[in-house]
């Protein structure tokens, strides 16, 4: 966090100054470790073992916050008899279809749920987009079988105990490489931050997400935090430290292919795309907040299609594109290589350096007919056709590449108005300071004028494919000599308005499913409640939660699910940790934060018969987005690879899976193994070391924004890798000398930074060396170097399709790599003579 979020890390330093214990678990000793009270190195890829060890510790030592766990989590829910755990089936859960590499999740669902409408079969396998809570309007999750004593052998709490029984401190020591004593110190310290008086938070970043089991690692953290009562309370939570500014914003209003704004799923061809009714039926919940799904969807369609959207044409539902396959970054590039993709827009991204198996991706770019790159400089993605290593190696010839590259200059963030949403869901507006230079323009300008021109073309072309484009509202006013669209008008559209009078709504509570309201992103509603009142632009913080500074979605709640900060009766768990509580006198929820709960629903509220939506959740159910109103220790649906996290090795690992000899890695993962995207064996004598890519404070992602600036370039001017003195000795490498790093995909040369901050770990009796590889360099800029991502494979985690860039196998040898064509021969020789493509 100190490395990549130094500004946010000031609060960690301040907390430490006030007595908080900071624990850092990371393969390398980083700037964060230097500031922590406790550091533990662990083997990359063993995170679930480590977190499972903590869960085991909590359960074995009775450290859970019992009252919280009983009332606010699904620990008491009962799972059907035909569910089988990985511990029963040698590494897979029940429902595994080995042929299609997919789960049928029906045995994971709670026992005894009431089906209110027998006519519609309940499909538990429904999951797409980020709307994982979706699942139909017939099942009443609030009334599943449960046992509040947590003793029923099939209740979630007991299954959890059984599932994590083997995640002992000894196992953690043996396979994570964390000495037992250090692990126990961490367990004792972190589990101590629990109960009425204390809380603890977990921060994670790409070290967890960029793995073949990333979401399940985060699930493990969620289980731990729910057991400790650390969600919805001040000082608690799990914070995703995002990779760049506004990555949170780019999932809320997504640049992802499978969701629409506000985490509404993108319709998938043949699954939920027939008509709006069926789509809503599939994704709306009978109970809980997602009962309002239709309001948000119809309002979104009204924002998109305006007057053209009406009840007779499903509000324009059919004009939305359908997901027809894997349109993720990885899927795109695989298809591109196969010649199935004609053109590509690349905006604010640099896949030629930052993409997994960037060597593969650069070659795939050469198969395009056209490529539009918008950025502030000519970065590697725009210049791959004449100065990439593939050109030097004779793999690509500029005269044979027919890709037409359009490089368009982009404005920087100080040259345009706009909004960032940070990791704590806080929207912060920024104003343009100066006009962009020359022909550089903002993204808004580019998208608006591109859309305008496309619409002008489409207007003259009556083909059915153009109906949606013609219907699209595109009516922003323009200002200034650059004819920039007014970005605040976009934010107003996102906020939502009543269609009849274009009056801004004050929040998503006003949205309707009858077409009378329009809203571009329901969770942001309330950010612009009145003309002239852009709440993202507020700059007057009034309390420690920051109310008065920016706007936190939803409804300016700074801590989500904050009903959990009070006990079931509505009283703060403690004076020290009070946040929101039930005011008996005024009969409403009140407190230091905006209550994330229906304001007038008393703690002792019990739903009436056949209640729907929020009315169906009792007054002591804080997790209102879940159909059962509780935190999910157990995921009864929504995940592609299991209701509980379980340890699998990385796709390339120096050891065999100690838990499941027959299931080495995540069985549901898509390895996309093919020529040019090959894998090492696990283990593999050719590739004995574990490497992970990461970033340094001094550079920004692929370096396109930092390698071009002298004041940043000089701070880390060369590509290097970090290795322990032990590994350096073993391979005859001197500090500052050159080394060649090789994986099954490629080879790069780097300088060796030999440091005690890296250390070998004793894994199952053998020393395992880890290599740290920052990935900021490419073949352009003031400072250049090979790209670490040439080494990484294109793989797809089954839930979110991210690649694995942590815990892959490599070799490290002293000396520079061969230059030019000879580099390919060197790689081929290392692979043992197989084709080096």
């Amino acid at each position: 966090m100190a490395e990549n979020h130094p500004v946010g890390f000031q609060w960690v330093v301040e907390a430490r100054e006030r007595g908080a214990q900071v624990i850092h678990v990371d393969p390398r000793f980083s700037r964060t470790s230097a500031m922590a009270n406790i550091w533990a190195p662990l083997r990359a890829g063993s995170d679930i073992l480590f977190l499972g060890g903590l869960i085991h510790y909590v359960l074995e030592n009775g450290k859970d916050f019992r009252e919280y766990v009983v009332h606010y989590t699904n620990a008491s829910s009962i799972v059907p008899e035909d569910f089988k755990d990985t511990e029963d089936l040698g590494g897979v859960f029940s429902g595994w279809d080995a042929k299609n590499k997919k789960y049928d999740a029906s045995t994971w669902f709670y026992e005894g749920c009431v089906e209110r409408d027998k006519d519609v079969p309940y499909d538990v396998s429904a999951h797409c987009g980020h709307c994982k809570e979706g699942g139909g309007t017939t099942i009443d999750l609030t009334r599943c079988n449960s046992d509040h004593t947590l003793t029923h052998p099939r209740c979630v709490y007991q299954l959890l105990k059984k599932h994590f029984a083997r995640y002992t401190p000894e196992m953690v020591e043996r396979y994570c490489g964390v000495p037992k004593e250090r692990f126990l110190k961490i367990a004792e310290t972190f589990c101590g931050a629990s109960g009425p008086e204390k809380t603890g938070a977990i921060c994670y970043a790409l070290g967890w997400t960029q793995q073949s089991k990333g979401p399940q690692i985060i699930r493990a953290a969620a289980i731990l935090q729910l057991l400790l009562g650390n969600i919805g309370r001040p000082g608690g939570g799990i914070l995703a430290l995002r990779g760049h500014a506004s990555i949170q914003g780019s999932t809320d209003i997504p640049t992802l292919y499978d969701i629409l704004p506000g985490y509404l799923p993108m319709p998938q061809l043949g699954i939920d795309s027939d008509n709006l009714e069926a789509y809503i039926e599939k994704h709306r919940d009978l109970t809980g907040w997602w009962w309002n799904f239709d309001k948000y969807m119809v309002s979104l369609l009204k924002a998109y299609y305006g007057e053209a959207a009406n009840a007779n044409n499903d509000w324009g539902f059919d004009w939305l594109p359908r997901v027809t396959g894997d349109h993720s970054h990885q899927g795109y590039f695989l298809e591109m290589m196969d010649g199935k993709i004609e053109g590509l827009f690349v905006m604010g991204q640099n896949p030629a350096v930052a993409g997994p198996n960037s060597r593969f991706e650069r070659k795939a770019l050469s198969k395009l007919k056209w490529l539009v790159v918008r950025d502030m400089v000519e970065l590697e993605t725009a210049s791959f056709w004449y100065d990439s290593p593939e050109v030097e190696r004779g793999e690509l010839r500029p005269e044979e590449i027919s890709t037409e590259v359009f490089l368009l200059p982009a404005a920087g963030h100080a040259e345009k108005d706009g909004c960032f949403t940070n990791t704590q869901r806080l929207l912060q507006w920024h104003q343009k300071a100066v006009d962009p230079p020359g022909d550089a323009r903002s993204e808004t300008w580019f998208m608006y004028h591109l859309g305008r021109r496309l619409k002008e073309k489409a207007r003259k072309d009556p083909r059915p494919r153009n109906v949606g484009l013609n219907a699209l509202t595109w009516d922003y006013s323009l200002e200034g000599k650059l004819q920039e669209p007014k970005v605040e008008e976009v934010l107003q559209e996102i906020n939502g308005y009543t269609v009849a009078d274009r009056k801004l709504v004050s929040g998503f509570g006003e949205l309707k499913a009858d077409g009378s309201t329009a809203c571009g992103c329901w969770i942001y509603s309330g950010v612009f409640p009145r003309p002239g009142e852009n709440r993202a632009n507020l700059r007057n913080s009034q309390d420690y939660l920051g109310h008065g500074w920016g706007f936190a979605w939803p409804s300016d709640r700074r801590i989500i699910y904050n009903r959990a900060s009070a006990d079931p009766a509505g009283r703060p768990w403690s004076e020290r940790k009070k946040l929101v509580w039930w005011d008996q006198q005024n009969k409403e929820w009140t407190g230091l934060d905006v209550p994330d709960f229906t304001k007038t629903k008393p703690p002792d509220y019990r739903p009436y018969k056949d209640a729907e939506g929020d009315d169906a959740l009792a007054g002591d159910k804080p997790f209102i987005l879940h159909a059962d109103g509780v935190g999910w220790i157990w995921a009864p649906k929504g995940l592609a690879d299991g209701p509980l996290p379980t340890h699998y090795e990385s796709l390339e690992s120096p050891v065999r899976n100690p838990l499941y000899p027959d299931e080495q890695d995540n069985p549901a993962v898509m390895k996309e193994e093919r020529p040019q995207n090959e894998y090492a064996n696990s283990p593999d004598a050719r590739f004995p070391f574990v490497m992970s890519t990461y970033r340094l404070t001094e550079h920004h992602t692929s370096g396109a924004m930092s390698r071009m600036l002298p004041h940043l370039a000089e701070l880390q001017p060369e590509f290097f890798c970090e290795i322990s003195p032990e590994l350096a000795k073993e391979r005859g490498v001197e500090n500052g000398g050159w080394v060649t790093l090789t994986t099954a995909r490629g080879l790069v040369e780097a300088r060796a930074l030999v440091t005690a901050r890296m250390r070998p770990l004793l894994i199952n009796g053998k020393n395992v060396h880890q290599v740290g590889v920052p990935y900021h360099w490419g073949y352009r800029g003031l400072v250049k170097g090979d790209s670490a991502n040439d080494l990484v494979a294109i793989s797809e985690e089954p839930n979110v399709r991210i690649m694995e860039a942590k815990g892959i196998l490599c070799d490290l040898l002293p000396g520079r790599r061969a230059q030019g064509k000879a580099a390919l021969e060197q790689l081929s020789a290392h692979l043992g003579g197989s084709n080096a493509h």
Partner: protein
């Protein structure tokens, strides 16, 4: 006007180098060359003509208070942002023959670039090795204490950019007291080698950029007892006169025989 000072606290520095970059941006200083050092994360290496704030990275086989870091042996990684000390008796100022280097009303030592003739006397006179001539320019440069910002009521760029308040800016006396207290707090917390770097007893007569550090100052390239070279002037000139007199006497004696 009160005397301005920095208090830079190694116990709060996270090594982000925001101070280095903010300093260069504000003062329009060129880069210091693109050369990788192999010495931890320190690639700007030292204070100089084009690096007026420099973050030092120290990897040591020593414990840091009660921190649980090293596994088999103690280990700590320290960061400290170093800067011109703006000495009460400044060697550079005393050595400057042109009057380019002056003392400002905030107590800082300021090089007037329009007067500096590049003689370089100041460079050898700084006990901290701070001021340096820029090769392609010829003149000497160092931290201005953001005199321009201070005149406009702003704090120096480095202190402004520091995310963790490791660099504090303020009145010298206040910061001396704060530094002292900070050391006491750190020692209470088990950082037994915490100390303040604030040499007042030597001929520099006190510095205006104090540091809270751990262990010996030498590890941070800070001289434990910095002296202004000009204090040796009297004895140097005296011995020169004596030598000259002796030589003269010998020469005279040679002719008298």
């Amino acid at each position: 006007m009160p005397i301005s000072a920095f208090l830079t606290d190694a116990s709060l520095c996270i090594g982000c180098k925001a101070c280095e970059v903010a300093c260069k941006e504000w003062n329009e200083i060129p880069d210091d060359g693109f050369s990788w050092s192999g010495n931890s994360y320190d690639n700007t290496r030292a204070l100089g003509a084009s690096t007026w704030r420099h973050v030092l990275f120290l990897e040591q086989k020593q414990p840091m208070g009660s921190q649980l870091a090293g596994i088999d042996e103690p280990f700590r990684w320290q960061f400290l942002s170093d800067v011109c000390k703006h000495c009460a008796n400044a060697g550079c100022l005393e050595a400057c023959p042109t009057g380019s280097i002056v003392r400002t009303e905030v107590g800082s030592v300021f090089v007037q670039p329009d007067i500096c003739n590049g003689c370089g006397y100041c460079v050898v006179s700084c006990p901290f090795g701070v001021i340096e001539k820029r090769p392609d320019d010829g003149r000497a440069f160092k931290c201005t204490f953001c005199y321009d910002r201070q005149k406009a009521g702003l704090i120096p760029a480095c202190a402004k950019a520091c995310p963790t308040e490791s660099i504090q800016f303020g009145d010298l006396e206040v910061l001396r007291q704060r530094g002292k207290k900070r050391v006491e707090v750190l020692q209470e917390r088990g950082y037994s080698d915490a100390r303040i770097y604030n040499p007042q007893e030597t001929t520099v007569g006190g510095i205006h950029a104090l540091s809270v550090i751990f262990g010996e100052p030498e590890a941070y390239n800070l001289p434990p007892a910095p002296e202004v070279p000009t204090v040796y002037l009297k004895s140097a000139w005296t011995s020169a006169f004596i030598s000259a007199a002796i030589i003269l006497a010998i020469v005279c004696a040679a002719f008298s025989f």
